[in-house]
Symmetry: C2
Subunit: 312 residues, 2 copies
């Protein structure tokens, strides 16, 4: 039985501070419609798809901060998105700021969800690798305050049986960390869905511009795909948000590590690829047959030690 999933990677252009959830959702619905026309079965939207990338702004007023977070999902603003996807029979995934009461406290996460073709949320992931910093940094050319607004996710990297395969999620900076893909790979993941919002310039080194940052993005997702024999669908929110430029370069990556689809714009754009989950098998059964080749007795530092300890 064929296990080909036609995937639509729904890159989004910029969202300005002034854009409401309705503006975002209308554009997402238009991308769903395009995906339906192209006979996609699964649509992947970016990280923080409903708002501008707000961690670039230093805010202290809790009401101002909370305005970027959702307290339930779906909610009034996103219900039309769920409805349209269900109407089209499309599964989908997107990211948003999640504010939640749990264990007697208030928590904020950078979250993504996996929704099946009947509109049910079947998986939730909360971002593990928060980049940036927790307090205003005058040395940066712009701020990246993810460590201020989000807690480290408490879900870990989980994979789900989904659409006849095994699907996992991660978010943005997670894609640079090989641990992300490996934890998913050890669950047999066949497709990793990930959204990102990545500034086109390094706030701490102006000379590191778009070409190098695009190379780093590609390198990370291609290595993660190859080294675990999995598809990776890596989708940007792109373009100029409130004067700050974000990378485009959304891609679909084959388990060989080759890019099979790439966005050409920094605007709303659907990239489409037929992803045969059985293309993972050769890698998983030969060079990356973990059971035969991995040597966990020599990996101890990876989980024993967070930071660097230099030799004497």
């Amino acid at each position: 039985m064929s296990r080909v999933i036609r995937v639509g990677g729904a890159q989004m252009g910029p969202l300005q501070k002034s854009d409401s959830r309705q503006v975002a959702v209308e554009r997402m619905i238009a991308l769903l419609d395009r995906a339906r026309e192209r006979d996609c079965r699964l649509v992947v939207f970016p990280e923080l798809a409903l708002t501008t990338f707000f961690p670039r702004w230093d805010m202290d007023d809790p009401r101002e901060i909370d305005a970027y977070f959702e307290t339930e999902m779906p909610n009034a603003a996103t219900r039309p998105l769920f409805d349209r996807a269900k109407e089209h029979g499309l599964a989908f995934s997107f990211g948003y700021g999640e504010r939640v009461e749990e264990d007697g406290g208030q928590h904020r996460y950078n979250t993504s969800i996996l929704v099946d073709e009947t509109g049910h949320i079947v998986g939730k992931y909360r971002k593990t690798h928060l980049p940036g910093h927790a307090a205003f940094d005058p040395e940066r050319s712009f701020q990246h305050l993810e460590k201020k607004y989000f807690e480290v996710g408490n879900t870990g990297f989980r994979a789900w049986r989904f659409m006849g395969g095994i699907v996992g999620m991660c978010i943005c900076n997670d894609r640079r960390w090989p641990e992300t893909y490996r934890v998913l790979g050890l669950q047999g993941v066949e497709m990793v869905l990930l959204g990102f919002n990545t500034p086109s310039v390094n706030s701490q080194r102006a000379s590191e511009a778009e070409d190098l940052r695009t190379f780093h993005n590609d390198l990370s997702v291609q290595a993660g795909a190859y080294q675990n024999g999995t598809w990776v669908v890596s989708i940007a929110k792109a373009g100029v948000e409130d004067g700050h430029e974000l990378l485009g370069g959304s891609t679909v990556v084959h388990p060989s590590g080759r890019i099979v689809a790439r966005a050409q714009t920094v605007d709303d754009e659907l990239i489409v690829a037929d992803c045969d989950l059985d293309a993972c098998n050769f890698y998983k059964e030969t060079i990356f047959d973990f059971a035969r080749h991995r040597r966990i007795e020599h990996y101890g530092l990876i989980t024993q030690q967070t930071g660097v300890v230099r030799p004497d």
Copy 2:
């Protein structure tokens, strides 16, 4: 104080079954001489630099097998290499088959050593990730019997203070495993020396030929360099050995992941790069500042579980 090391990557062309150790060592000495002329301070030779890549041959006669292994280092055949390097004041690294009596038994490893500019062996590494198989496989277009001839190394991935920096080693297939670089990265490694012997065609899939295999080689070393903010010096034994073609494409990779030097031939060839160890710092102090960003509480599977366990 500058921490620039001019490195010579000493790619070697093929060694035939009929080639003696002396043939190999003479060619290695010629590469040392070239490195001296170019003012290199450190020379990196390939995996199994003294012999043909013998795991392609299925052998059962212990004497035939043992002929590919060294029982001491240096020995009569390699002494001239050590002498010439010392004369030039060159540090170096190379790989060889090691047969050793330890713990009351006979052991064979795929080994590399790190030798300082006075000719002292300061580091030894025994290959962890043995590719291939342990018994003749009639389904392959040629054999890759590393699991037959070598035990899994018992050294683990260690980094040493060396030439004013922190230097580690790995061998061939190790480079495809992100765990390799990460264990070294957690020791602050600034330069990874690695040699390889990689067939140009996949013995289990004829359609996977040189372009894809070169891409996989580059992808693995570039990702390892970038994700740990380290130089990688990745050196091939290349060309046609006894009718079997090995990849060239030796490279020196910057901590950005960019390739700064690449071999153009599949023969003896010296590639030279000025490796500034301080170029690692920016990556290690920002995006890959492990102490601030790694989340070991979510990496457990990496060391708990060797093979894949799929979700229910």
